[in-house]
Assembly symmetry: C2
Homo-oligomer: 255 residues x 2
Amino acid sequence: MTEKPLILITNDDGVWAKGINELTNSLKQLGEVVVFAPDGPRSGMSSAITSSIPIKYTLLKKENGLTIYSCTGTPVDCVKLAVNEVLHRQPDLLVSGINHGTNVAICVNYSGTLGAAIEGCIFDVPSIGVSLTDHSAHADFSEACRLSNQLAALVLKNGLPKGTYLNLNVPDIPQVKGIKVCHQADGRWVNEYMCSANASGEPVYWLTGSFKNTYPEDQGNDTLALEEGYASLVPCKIDVTNYNYIEQLKSIITE
Amino acid sequence: MTEKPLILITNDDGVWAKGINELTNSLKQLGEVVVFAPDGPRSGMSSAITSSIPIKYTLLKKENGLTIYSCTGTPVDCVKLAVNEVLHRQPDLLVSGINHGTNVAICVNYSGTLGAAIEGCIFDVPSIGVSLTDHSAHADFSEACRLSNQLAALVLKNGLPKGTYLNLNVPDIPQVKGIKVCHQADGRWVNEYMCSANASGEPVYWLTGSFKNTYPEDQGNDTLALEEGYASLVPCKIDVTNYNYIEQLKSIITE
């Protein structure tokens, strides 16, 4: 291509988070970068969209090859607004992250980081969500940045199949062994609430809990790769249809 | 079974919406019903979860075979809190809806109605999301209730495969031809924003747009079934891994 690749970066921890800033620095060398991210934390927003109130955006910085906007919406709103109204052309790549915290297994379902990657994919932009297993504000993103850069370069070169996006999770260790291609682990969260009292003495419930892998030894699942010191990479689909069940369901419906 | 089936009902339009109330009336004859729904509209919340503030719930009604609660959280919060803390046992069925408005194709991704069904499925509860193509507050839910009742009875009898939930959409016509088992249509929303000014004269953006089906003639897609006067029923999977792409992705990563 004659012009530099256009890379859209967003996240769900907000434009001021360490993860998105380190990611931006690590991808600048690969192309023209536009950051279009929420103006504050939007963790756990999944693919939520804002439809009952309007959203707006603000230009924070414009320098050689790097433009940064903040937006009042969700991660998905950011992708929609950037692609529909702000960017001068379709991006060549979307990277969402680097999230402060793990997004493996079913967490792809709740994560705003992945919500943004799904939205990029719906727009036919090759899209990657990146997460680090450390959720602290001052986490060390150096290995996650190295692997994000490596993966971004590969995706810019090879593209991705229509309707497929990537979910990269990086363990918080000094030297990651490499990227392992995986499938999503089967499991769910358990003991999800802590009950306390509000100022009126009424019970209120705080989300907490721990993840329970249904088949921990299942070879090739993403949680296992992290435990073994690898970054896990899961190719994910927009189309959630269970094609294998269609004929059986037809026979049940016509009973 | 010796005791009546336990049916959990929720939605994303809130506990006072017409759709959930008509659904509740139509399912009461099938078992013990617990409604646990948001205290107001939560449309477009997808699988969003509330983690930075606590949530609470309120008992609104308890009569023979029917209990109704409202909750300050999202549709997914409702399912999590009900299953973790409120219900006396695991439900035999979850029905989310009836949504005021269509949730076909990629809308399964943005919908709070489907977010709740996904969450039920994660808890291994056979789960169904139901939506009507009319989004008005006073829509006619009679056909949607008739088909929801029929489908709920079939799912109570036959169950669903682990990790699979159902997405039922009913057209707003006097006589629906029946339920057609479909796959999710491929497409996306276009022209998604209307720009206006806020009180300070700054541009703000309202979500709008129209759905564009990539392959409108694709046989068996859910949007087509609705156009033909059928209710569409898509079996959907929790596991979004694109297994067909894993080997090719491995070869790209090891380049």
